[in-house]
């Protein structure tokens, strides 16, 4: 798959949130407006791409040659945690103000189902190093798209008088569902027609 194809596939067609149902937790549960959204997605995208690269390295150099495939989950979990920790240290040194957006540690949020999911998807897809990096970035971009759309919807719902039993999380999930249906307009056939003609 070409790099552009990868980018479009993992950000639109196979959107991490809207197609794979990963990374839902920060999307629907958390407070915070657009600024938090942007910083969370940026952190998540960075984490995803670096973790995907690390996952590729682990798979290629350690797990596959030594026939340790069954240790994939602990290995990836540990690598993601390490990278998250390193990112946090780096952020604290270089951009301390980013670390405390709305009082929530960025890296803690960035480490969710989505990151590990993306690593697994990238490894299962058999991509090479550069492609894995791009997969992570594209997934992060898709995460950003979904998160910002849902945040805007959430802000709009906050001022509305909605049924009390559906207020908050239930409606956010229902909105995500409607959004997911809308995004099904972008499917693989669409991409292949876009690039390959009719």
């Amino acid at each position: 798959m070409s790099l552009l194809g990868i980018i479009l596939t993992f950000s639109l067609v196979d959107n991490v949130v809207l197609s794979r149902l990963l990374g839902v937790c920060p999307c629907v549960g958390g407070p915070g407006g657009m600024r938090v959204t942007v910083s969370t997605s940026a952190a998540t995208a960075l984490l995803m791409s670096l973790s995907a690269l690390a996952g590729w390295a682990l798979q290629t150099f350690i797990l596959a040659p030594l026939d340790l495939e069954f240790l994939r989950t602990p290995a990836f979990v540990l690598s993601v945690a390490c990278i998250a920790g390193l990112l946090e240290v780096a952020a604290r040194r270089m951009v301390p103000q980013l670390l405390r957006v709305a009082g929530v540690p960025l890296v803690g949020i960035a480490f969710n189902c989505a990151t590990l999911g993306v690593v697994l998807i990238a490894v299962k897809g058999g991509f090479n190093a550069l492609q894995s990096l791009v997969v992570g970035l594209a997934a992060g971009a898709g995460f950003f798209i979904a998160l910002s759309l849902l945040t805007a919807i959430r802000e709009r719902l906050e001022v509305e008088k909605v049924p009390s039993w559906l207020r908050g999380l239930p409606l956010h999930l229902i909105s995500a569902g409607l959004l997911a249906y809308a995004f099904m307009a972008f499917d693989r056939a669409f991409l292949s027609r876009l690039f390959g003609g009719w």
């Binding site: 919807i153 802000e155 709009r156 001022v159 409607l178 249906y181 027609r193 009719w198």
Partner: protein, 360 residues
């Protein structure tokens, strides 16, 4: 004055009622034409869609303890759902689509004015993905023998061009070459015009012009009445029930894109896209004037509306030419709905923190 809560909020209930019932009335001629062309199946589909939406609204009345049928929005939703259905579709499809539209897309969010997705479109998109086969089965036009593989011109065009670039220029020429079954009436009218009027100037119209203009083609119930929809829209625009920004930008963007780039997949080159053919195919006009203009699900500010119209135009272009559904309009508008809260958020001038100000 900054309005923070979404529409409709101007004028209160009476203007909402006026808006909705005007829209419903302007849809009726087009719906009636669809019934005339397709007969009893179309009538039953429309009736079921309308009935289901009214019933669902009544059901919601139990929860809200307030009957809201009089505001007309359920009627409009039901009519729109019906008009977006193919006429031969099994009746449970419009029923479920209408119920989904009212209960899940509208009432779950609090009822009129609080949903962010157009209810009719939400229901239709659900039906599109649930019963894809049923939603893509068509009845033949009046005066055309019922054969197998009936397709609307838009779908037939794509089928004719798949895999092989055509030697002909223009959509109608391609369709004519692949022997698309236009009606006998069309044949007679076009032949008459060609012989008596246009032959003087040396032009000739391809077959199918009459059918496309009049709407005597297979398609959804609301697709086939484009001239009547234009009339209804003109009335609504004239009475300022709907605003011009969204539909005009939408149609202009789409037609420009279609004309310039649309010929490329056909191998005809630039600037030969046949925007007029595209305009009269599919739910473009229905969507542009009656669904994209929904004040609840379109942006608040004028700039926002222009931007929204352009987005819709671009999305419709891509989804119609490259998407999987033949007519990209329902999905395009639904995607546009998803983007509207973002447009609103950035098009709003800042007064304190957006989203937290008291509801207007």
């Amino acid at each position: 004055m900054l309005v923070v809560s979404p529409a409709p909020h101007v004028g209160g209930l009476s203007s909402t009622r006026r808006l909705n019932w005007s829209v419903a009335c302007c849809l009726l001629p087009a719906a009636a034409w669809g019934v005339f062309l397709f007969g009893v199946p179309a009538l039953s589909v429309l009736g079921v869609a309308l009935g289901a939406s009214l019933a669902a609204e009544l059901l919601a009345a139990l929860a809200w303890r307030r009957v809201t049928l009089a505001d007309g929005s359920a009627a409009v939703t039901g009519l729109l759902v019906g008009m977006l259905m193919p006429p031969g579709v099994p009746l449970y499809v419009p029923a479920v689509a209408s119920a989904f539209a009212i209960i899940i897309v509208k009432q779950s969010f609090g009822g009129l004015g609080r949903n962010w997705m157009n209810p009719a479109l939400g229901g239709v998109v659900f039906a599109l993905f649930s019963w894809a086969n049923a939603m893509n089965s068509w009845l033949p036009a009046r005066g055309v023998a019922a054969g197998t593989g009936v397709l609307p011109p838009l779908n037939a065009l794509r089928a004719a061009l798949t895999g092989a670039k055509s030697a002909h220029r223009g959509a109608l020429a391609v369709l004519g070459a692949s022997s698309y079954p236009w009606s006998a009436a069309d044949g007679r009218v076009v032949a008459w015009i060609n012989t008596h009027i246009l032959s003087l100037a040396g032009w000739s119209l391809p077959g199918g012009v009459f059918d496309m203009l009049v709407g005597n083609i297979p398609g959804r119930i609301g697709d086939v009445s484009v001239p009547l929809l234009f009339l209804g829209a003109a009335y609504l625009l004239g009475r300022r029930v709907i605003r011009w920004q969204v539909p005009v930008t939408y149609l202009v963007t789409f037609c420009v894109a279609a004309q310039i780039f649309g010929g490329l997949p056909m191998g005809c080159g630039w600037g030969t896209g046949g925007a007029l053919f595209q305009l009269f195919s599919g739910s473009l006009v229905l969507g542009a004037f009656f669904m994209a203009t929904d004040p609840v699900t379109s942006p608040l500010t004028g700039t926002g509306k222009l931007l929204y119209g352009m987005c819709l135009g671009v999305l419709s272009f891509f989804l119609r030419y490259f998407g999987s559904g033949g007519d990209g309009v329902p999905l395009a508008i639904v995607l546009g709905n998803c983007v509207v809260p973002v447009i609103d958020r950035f098009a709003q001038p800042r007064v304190g923190s957006p989203g937290k100000a008291a509801a207007g």
